[in-house]
Amino acid sequence: MERQIVHFDGDSFFASVEQALNYTLRGLPVVTGAERGAATSASYEAKRMGVTRSMTLKQIKEICPNVVVVNSDYRAYAIYAHRMYRIVRRYTPLVEEYSVDECFADITGLDKTYGMTYTEIAQMIKAKLEESLGITFGVGLAPTKVLAKAASKFNKPAGFTHIPIERRREYLARVAIGNVWGVGTATAAQLQGLGVMTALDFANKSFEWMQLQQMHKNHRALWHELNGTLVHELNINPDHQDIGSIIKSRTFSPPSNDKTFIYSQLAKNVEAACERARTHGVRARAITVMLKTQSFLYGRVEITLPVATADPRDMLAVIKPQFEQLYRPATLYRATGISLRSIVPEDSVTLDFFGAGEKTLRNAPVLKSIDDINHRYGGQSVFLGSSMQAINYRERSRVKKEGRRTAKVLMESEYKRKSIDIPFLGKVQ
């Protein structure tokens, strides 16, 4: 039986949540990410003005002078994400919480239950999500996850696209190979070198061609998915859930310009962030590295990783050259930090041609041992050499922790650190 997979993708999710929580932002170009100095999300009003997530806030303000830049409020986004998952689960228990703004659902067989077509069922769930949350979703219905994910990107915002197996070619012709889910930058370049420009070009290749090119098994899986055969089952195990981004940052005092010391501080944060990711069974596809100077200025760099990883050695290998660029010998630094972004479950890792993915898989037992030892003996019994200086360093004077921003949308309850889990929208008359 042809499988019926639905992909739900919140349109400009973070910015849309901000607009839903604060009615004065409706209809305005809104960008989230003020606290990072880079856009984490842009509303459709902003996108229509040409704003993209790769721009700096300065560039965004230049092309879109009336833009409203707000801090990211991850607690609010998490509440909306969980509402999305739970609403979809009312229709089927087979839901994969893929990321904070996306999920997959398997609705195969529900046509009999509801006496409706699959298109009607998918649109019914979409309508319920939009009604309940007050934000729109891009929704795709198709026989595989890869096709469903491609489908949800058509006709944004608030689009709905059904790609039945027999009509996949007309849609795949419109998808650049680099935009196919699971195709990394290196793979896209390699495939383009072989004349594969669109998803259709790849789907049209013969299986023999792939063997001839010695395609990795993940790319053979992709080929099957594009041709309508489901290979990637939904991951409905909720272990990795509850996690939107992982940030580790530490202030040190007094400020320092000792390069080795600062790098060591950063390495320690990278190690801690990776350990947290492994505890949750997730990996990051992208990271942001930050150096904060004494004058409270930030140096930061965003890095897309060649392969999703939770291995600090992989990350530090990519970070090191960027750190060299970022570090200024005449500057005093007071903090380093890392934020893991584009977090994915560890079993949905994109492998790349260059074997980076395989290396990551081989390293898994080593990391498992490190985690076991640190769990048993506590703290950082085993750590990377690059973190040593930071770990052995005793803070000479405790720096007051920077105040955590309280979610403005949530009503403070008497329990100091907790907020009511129902969004508070303000006054009514």
């Binding site: 009615y23 609403i87 309940s132 007050g134 969004p423 929208l425 008359q429």
Partner: protein
């Protein structure tokens, strides 16, 4: 093999006050009443209002309208061409 502690069983059929106040938690939001326009309905200045984002309301229900100047509550009447975003499902007031 023993039986599960009986207390666990008994608790299975209880809900929290919060859950009781909410019909559909995943569509519920809070607002705080300002003024006395809804005093007749028993919603007083400062009360917390729970509403559900929903198109499912009928004549006599208290609905939430979102206009340029913010949120207002009113009784739904057929033919009201306003931007109704939901229906009030409860309200509460905390004294201490």
């Amino acid at each position: 093999m023993g039986f599960a502690a009986p207390a666990e069983d008994e608790l299975a059929d209880t809900i929290t006050v919060g859950a009781y106040l909410l019909r559909d938690k995943d569509a519920s939001y809070l607002l705080q009443m300002s003024g006395d326009s809804m005093a007749e309905a028993g919603i007083l200045d400062g009360d917390m209002v729970v509403f559900e984002r929903s198109h499912d309301y009928r004549a006599g229900d208290i609905v939430v309208v979102l206009g340029d100047d913010g949120y207002t509550l009113e009784y739904f009447k057929k033919g009201t061409p306003r931007q109704i975003i939901g229906v009030v499902t409860g309200s509460f007031r905390k004294y201490k």
